[in-house]
Each structure stands twice: as C-alpha cells, then as structure tokens.
C-alpha cells in the first residue's frame, strides 16, 4: 500500500476495515495491485477493489458502474470481465462475504437486467443487436473462466486458461456455473450470427463441421488416446522415480552412513552393535510408522523412546514388547520414567547381554516388567545411599498410586515389576479376562 494514488487519497471512513493497516502481499512490487475484496463487496468485490485501488468511496464506483449500464450494458461487461480477471486479494481469500450480500447481489442483477430491458424498450440502448449478445457472451465467459482465474492471490499472475487445468481441480469446479457460462456464450454467438444474417447457413456449416470432425476423430482419435495413455504412464513412471529417489536418499543418509561408520569402528564390537541397532530401529520406524501417526505422544511411543535412549547410552540391547497403548497422562508418564530408570539400572549394573521389557496397558491397568539375566543383588543389602531404586522407582510409583516390586537374587538376575491401576471407574466398561491368577 505504498503507491502514490492510494496514499494521496486515503481510504474514506465509510469503508470499515479498509486497507492501509495490513499491508497485503500485493505490495511486494511496491505497487498497489488491483484486487477484489469479495468479503466487502456485494457481488464479486470488484467495486470494493476498484474503490481501494482508486482511493474512492465504494458507492461512487458502484454508481459509475450502474450508469455505464446505459451505454449498451457496458457496465455489466466491464464488471463481468473484472470479476473474471482480477484476482482476489490475499487477505480476502477464504473470507466469507458479508451475510445477506447475496440477496442484495441477486437484487442488483435483477435491477440490471430490468434496466437493460427497460432501456431497450425505450429505444435508448445503443447498438442493441451487437452489444447485448456481447454482454451476454462476456458474462458467460466470465462465469466459465472464473474458477481458474480467481484462484489464489500470490500466483494469480499466471492464468491457467485450459479446461483441463480447470477440471483437474475438482474442489474448485462449480458445474452449474460452467454450464450456465457455456449456455450464455452459445446463446450470444447464436444471436450475433443471427444479427449478421448468417444463421440460415449455419445448419449446413454445422453439418460440414460435424462430418469433418468425425473423420478427424476417426483418424486421430486412437492416436490421441494412445498419447494420453502414454502421458499417464509417463507420469506414473515419474512418480515412481521420485519415490525411488526419495528411498535412495533416505538409505544414503541413514544406512550407508552407518555402514561406513561400522567399517571404521570394526575393532569395537560393542560400538558396532550399538550403531547397527540404532540404525535398525531408525529404519524400522521409517518403514512401518505412518507419517502423522505420532502427532501426539502415547504411552507406547514414550516408552519406545526411553528404550532407544537407554540402548544408546549404555550400549545394551533392550528387547521391548509392548501390548496395548493409551494416551499419556501424568501417571503413565511416571510409569514410563520409572521403567526408564529400571532399564538404566539393568543396563548399567547387571552386566547382562540384554534387557527384556514387557509392558501391557489397557484402560483398567498398566503393568510393566523390566528383566535382566545379570549378576543380580540382594535387595535388602542395598546401602541407603544408593537411592536410585528407592527414589526414582519405588517412591515414584507410590506417589502416583502405583506399586513397584524388585525381585533379585545374586546370580539370578533382576526383575522389576511396576503396576498401576488406572481409572477404577472405567473398569466396568472393560471386559478383561482375569489375569495374574497363578
């Protein structure tokens, strides 16, 4: 909104929410582009757009438009063309027209039609036989092209004037409008032809055209069909190629890099195993997880992340089996944190080759076991300064209404059992078979 004409004549106060405050995207080139504001106008927002562009009151513009109607309906032609060709202002895109505007718009169209008719009757209309078809034809064209042309503010400079482009956007196409447009254009052409006095010959001409078209169709139809098909298959091939390239890129970034790392660290089996495992997990996630599925974190994803972190930090594989899932709440979060602590302990102190994690969660309860076949310890003989188990596992579970049991014996490995009764009220809804009745 930095151009001379708008700043010289600031928008009148009669226009609420007038521009100037939000600099629209059109100002990129330093000029106030002509835009429509469908949310402010009655019909297509052309009047409002012109008013903004010229710095006039919108009523002045509307009056000028209406008076141009007298000149053989020129106003309607201009309006229709402007509607078709001027892109919607970015800030008006998607905005709703003021409620009730369509009623006024219909009224306006009726008034315009009535005025034209009245003028014609009064013999005041100039060039009746040519201008009227032109008006109708232009309106038809405007209707026909509008869906494509008015699309999008930023790329509005590029007009895609092909019916294919039009039809390829199913969301944008408005069938009744297209049909109406075509009918209007056809009617306008017919009346023009009539005015020129060639309508009588039209029948023969049409016949000739039909014959030629049929022959051409028979000649070139199959060829066109084949062309279209090969275009489609080419497109499919291109999509496949793109997918392949994406897969290749991903494999390069992940698997090949890891393999290179592994070759360099071949002397350190622990490191190599860790690298391989991390890569495996990463690749698996990429292969099996649906994009967008992990928008919100669940208990399962949090637990899986904890497993990955423990594996990475301590280089001990954790075999995780997780049954069921639930959205995270404070208590499940505490459970996952306690599980992480138990896995860390097992990985750090047990000296086991691997740690097993089993978790089962439903709406009634959550159970979690962390187990190793390591050195084990005597739970009663843990010195009081070793607070890891007591504070971060047992107390944490108890704070959240859960329970933790640590079973261990020297030489027999360790198993930490964490249980959490979830909302008791919901239990009646869940028909779980009784478990844990051994």
């Amino acid at each position: 909104m930095a151009s001379a004409d708008t700043s010289a004549a600031p928008s009148p106060a009669g226009q609420p929410g007038s521009p100037g405050a939000p600099a629209p995207a059109g100002g990129a080139s330093g000029q106030a582009r002509l835009r429509r504001y469908p949310d402010r106008g009655l019909l297509g927002g052309v009047g409002a757009g012109l008013a903004v562009h010229l710095g006039l009151d919108v009523r002045v513009v509307r009056f000028a438009m209406a008076s141009l109607l007298v000149a053989g309906g020129l106003g309607a032609v201009i309006y229709a063309l402007a509607w078709a060709l001027i892109p919607v202002a970015p800030e008006s895109e998607g905005a709703k027209r003021p409620s009730g505007a369509w009623r006024e718009a219909v009224l306006m169209v009726l008034v315009v039609a009535g005025t034209l008719f009245g003028l014609r009757r009064a013999g005041l209309l100039i060039g009746d036989s040519f201008v009227l078809p032109l008006v109708l034809g232009t309106c038809g064209l405007a209707l026909f092209w509008r869906p494509t042309v008015t699309r999008s503010g930023p790329s509005a400079g590029r007009l895609s004037l092909s019916p294919r482009a039009l039809l390829r956007r199913p969301g944008q196409v408005d069938l009744p409008r297209l049909v109406l447009g075509v009918l209007l254009v056809a009617f306008a052409s017919a009346s023009l032809l009539h005015a020129l006095g060639v309508l009588g010959n039209l029948g023969k001409a049409l016949g000739a055209v039909a014959i030629v078209a049929t022959m051409l169709g028979l000649l070139f139809g199959p060829w066109f069909a084949r062309l279209a098909r090969s275009l489609a298959s080419e497109r499919a091939a291109r999509i496949r190629e793109q997918e392949r390239a994406e897969v290749a890129a991903h494999l390069h970034d992940s698997v090949l890099q890891t393999l290179a790392l592994i070759q360099r660290r071949a002397g350190d089996p622990r490191e190599v195993a860790g690298l391989a495992r991390r890569q495996e997990r990463e690749l698996r996630r990429w292969l099996f997880e649906r994009p967008g599925a992990d928008a919100t974190e669940s208990f399962k994803t949090m637990l899986e992340r904890a497993v990955a972190e423990v594996e990475e930090l301590h280089g001990v594989p954790v075999e995780a089996v997780i049954v069921g899932d639930a959205p995270l709440d404070a208590r499940l979060e505490a459970l996952a944190q306690a599980a992480r602590e138990a896995m860390t302990n097992a990985a750090k102190f047990a000296g086991a080759e691997r740690v097993d994690l089993y978790a089962e969660v439903d709406s009634a309860r959550a159970e979690l076991f962390v187990r190793d076949r390591g050195v084990g310890f005597d739970p009663d003989a843990v010195p009081p300064d070793r607070r890891g188990v007591r504070d971060s596992i047992v107390r944490r579970m108890e704070r959240h209404g859960g329970h933790a049991t640590v079973r261990s014996e020297p030489g027999q490995g360790t198993e930490v059992e964490l249980t959490l009764e979830r909302s008791r009220g919901e239990r009646a809804l869940v028909a779980m078979s009784p478990v844990g009745s051994s």
């Binding site: 075999e319 089996v321 049954v323 069921g324 097993d356 089993y358 078979s433 478990v435 009745s437 051994s438």
Partner: protein, 227 residues
C-alpha cells in the same frame, strides 16, 4: 537325529549366516531364494522344518506355505524375520507357520526352536507373544463386536494368557513352567493351543489384519492346518 532343514530367504548372505550359525546343530539340506525355488527345493529335499523369511518378493512366506501345504502337509514352518509389523507376522502364523523368531536369535536358540518345531510344538518369541496378546486383547475387539460374542476360539484362557505374558517378559519355557508350577509339557500344550486358536479363529482383527495387507486372499480361508 537332528532335524533336516531348508532355509528360504531372498538374501544369500543371510542364508549363509544362518547356515554357519546353525553349524552342526541341524542338517541344512537345502536353500532357496525365491518362492518358486522354495517350492521346488522343498519338494525335492522333503525337510522336516523350513526356516522361512516373512518378507520375500512374489508373495513372501505366506505364498510358500500355501503352495507347499497342498502337496506336503507334513512339512513344518518356522518364520524368521526382522519384520516388526504385527500383521505380517500374524498372517504367516495364520497361513500355517508354527512359530516366529526374530533374526537376532542366537544359533543355539535357533537350533532349539527348530527341534521344537520339528516335534510339532509351537515356538513363540517374546515379540510374537506380545503380538498375540495384542491381537486377542478384549479391548481391541472394535465397536461393532462385543467381546461376549467371541467363541471359544476367539479368546485365550487366563492360563494361556499368563503363559504368553511370561514368554513376552523374556522367560524361557522352562522358566515359565517353574514360575507357574506346571511342567514344561503343559507350557508347550498351552502354547500349541494358542497357536491353534490363532490359526483357526475367525476373530475380527486377525482376518482384518491379513486382508488389509492383502497377504491372504478373501476367498481362501487362511490357516486350515492344525498340528
């Protein structure tokens, strides 16, 4: 006498690795790298157990099982895979495999699993136990299917569930037996019963999983074999 084994996997390197790991513990009598090759090799070698990769071109393990079973119903299959997708694993089990182990298994453990399958028992890795518990979870039955409508085949008994949960926690059959105060044979019987239910159940999720992935065609009921 050790079991006669055919290894089916589309990666030659992996087949060589398994062969080396198994060493003298079993007799590897053949290898195959594709579905066609597998059907032919199994027909020729008549092995006791086929170690079968879940993911292969041309239909994968499910297709191999389907085609071999028609002619050689005595051959037993043990699925061996890196796949984490529950529906793939369940589909192979439902097609007739008697167990599923992950490729990270050690040679000795694998040989033990092969021997177990050769005797007609089922082999459940912790992961498979987890999948099965998940698939039979009462809550997952879906809105249109009240759990009460499930037949005997469609749910696990409390004891079976408890056995599976111990397996999922990483206990071996022997340890499970010890903890539950039952014999190893009883544990095996429970696991075999679960496998049978898994293969015969018409339970909503199981079929849906398989059909959605188009691993099992709709017209042919999957898993008509019992052990």
């Amino acid at each position: 006498m050790s079991a006669r084994v055919v290894i089916v996997d589309d990666h030659r390197l992996f087949r060589a690795g398994v062969r080396a790991e198994l060493g003298e513990l079993v007799r590897v009598v053949g290898e195959a790298g594709s579905v066609e090759e597998a059907v032919e090799t199994i027909g020729m070698c008549e092995p006791d157990v086929v170690l079968l990769d879940v993911h292969m071109p041309d239909g994968g393990g499910v297709e191999v099982i389907r085609r071999v079973c028609e002619r050689q119903p005595a051959v037993r299959f043990l699925a061996l895979s890196v796949s984490d997708a529950a529906e793939d694993v369940i589909a192979v089990i439902r097609a007739g495999a008697r167990g599923y182990v992950t490729k990270s298994i050690s040679g000795a453990e694998l040989a033990e699993a092969v021997a177990r399958v050769a005797e007609g028992d089922a082999v459940f890795s912790p992961r498979l136990a987890g999948f099965v518990l998940d698939a039979f979870a009462s809550e997952a039955a879906g809105p249109g299917l009240p759990p009460a409508a499930d037949g005997e085949l469609d749910q696990l008994t409390p004891r079976e569930r408890e056995v599976l949960r111990h397996i999922a926690r990483g206990y071996m059959y022997k340890e499970v037996a010890q903890r539950l105060g039952i014999s190893v044979k009883t544990v095996e019987a429970h696991v075999s019963a679960v496998l049978r239910k898994l293969q015969l159940s018409s339970r909503h999720e199981l079929s849906r999983w398989a059909v959605e992935r188009r691993l099992v065609s709709l017209d042919r009921p999957a898993g008509r074999r019992t052990g």
